[in-house]
Symmetry: C2
Subunit: 212 residues, 2 copies
Amino acid sequence: MASKSQVSLSVVRRLPRYYRFLSELKRAGRDRISSRELAKIMGLTASQIRQDLNCFGGFGQQGYGYNVTLLREQIENILGLDDKISTIIIGVGNLGRAVAAHMDFEKRGFVLTGLFDNDVDIIGKFVSGVVIQSMDSLEKFCEENKPTTAILCIPKTVAKGVCDKLISLGIKCFWNFSHYDLSVDNPDLIVENVHLSDSLMTLGYRIKENNK
Amino acid sequence: MASKSQVSLSVVRRLPRYYRFLSELKRAGRDRISSRELAKIMGLTASQIRQDLNCFGGFGQQGYGYNVTLLREQIENILGLDDKISTIIIGVGNLGRAVAAHMDFEKRGFVLTGLFDNDVDIIGKFVSGVVIQSMDSLEKFCEENKPTTAILCIPKTVAKGVCDKLISLGIKCFWNFSHYDLSVDNPDLIVENVHLSDSLMTLGYRIKENNK
DNA sequence: TCTATACTGTCAATTATTTAACAAACTTGT
DNA sequence: ACAAGTTTGTTAAATAATTGACAGTATAGA
């Protein structure tokens, strides 16, 4: 358990994008594709694609290229898209609702098992087939259902407290949309931060830089 | 115009995070901070922080460190947070609404000037003080108001078409939430892709990798 | 004022990532 | 079956990013 991945995060982060383009190709009826052509379509180098894929095995064939359907399936396996990682969302405001509604968890290796919020006006309502519960129910729910992953769609101010509580309830994996930096000093956690405002500010910088 | 940035994207992407931590420190009443302590708090190396900041100038002082308020202001300037880049949102579903409501554009160097959607049930309603207009009004609006940036919160299926139209209306900068890859073959565009499902799949991979 | 200590800016070394190059292996058409 | 043309997997080279080291300059306390 907890063996360190040999594959660099840079490579892993490209996998979903490969998967996306391969799905597109499959839908378009393509049987095979060379690293060269895929590189062209995706705006990468052929070398990088071959290098990336070879981290996981030799899926291609000289003189032929890659079988689209097969390669797509391989990446599906690598990403574990048919897993069912039990996941809860904390905070069901606009953002939480958008995430719950848009994400198609079942196609990404997750299953949404709980929604939690403090707003009495929305408790009891359903989003994506899951009922919104009070934060007071969180502890009991976690003990009974043992979710492993939490999606944080809560304001910065309460993030630290909620996060500590979730950790104490056995949750170690976080998809964090809150404006707060998780896991700086807790190396046991697995955290994917989505800092939207950071992304926006980066865009702003690049726009101004370009106009100089 | 269009001079290439000397500073690497890796560095630029860290700036908003520095800004965030410095704002926190300021709020806590801290006057000064050394690269060593900041590194500790942020989970980085002191060397990296000094290296990063020095891309933009020598903001620190030997034997003293960095003045929190001053450094924060400098980064604010670098990121251009008091600019007013005119921006529209295309697609005002859950996600578009979440983005419109949460982002505090004025504090990030942007100003939200228009909202567009095709759903007749929401056209005419206000979100964050801006009225939702029909997509039919887009052309006229762009000619009159010349927004430079668009935020795409639309499904993949219509993304390509909408995007082409926006480009023809003079928009070159995109904050793209749609499940579609912009700018592979258009180097003139400035694009920040936010592929949430890619992020989720990456998290999934890392969780499984860790459980091995 | 002087001395010990702290800390930056910068250059050098290390590590990571990307790109290039090519032999080996397959495909395709004759 | 053979020759010409493709395309991979893999090694090597090049580039980029991060970390380490330290001279120089400031601070702080006696």
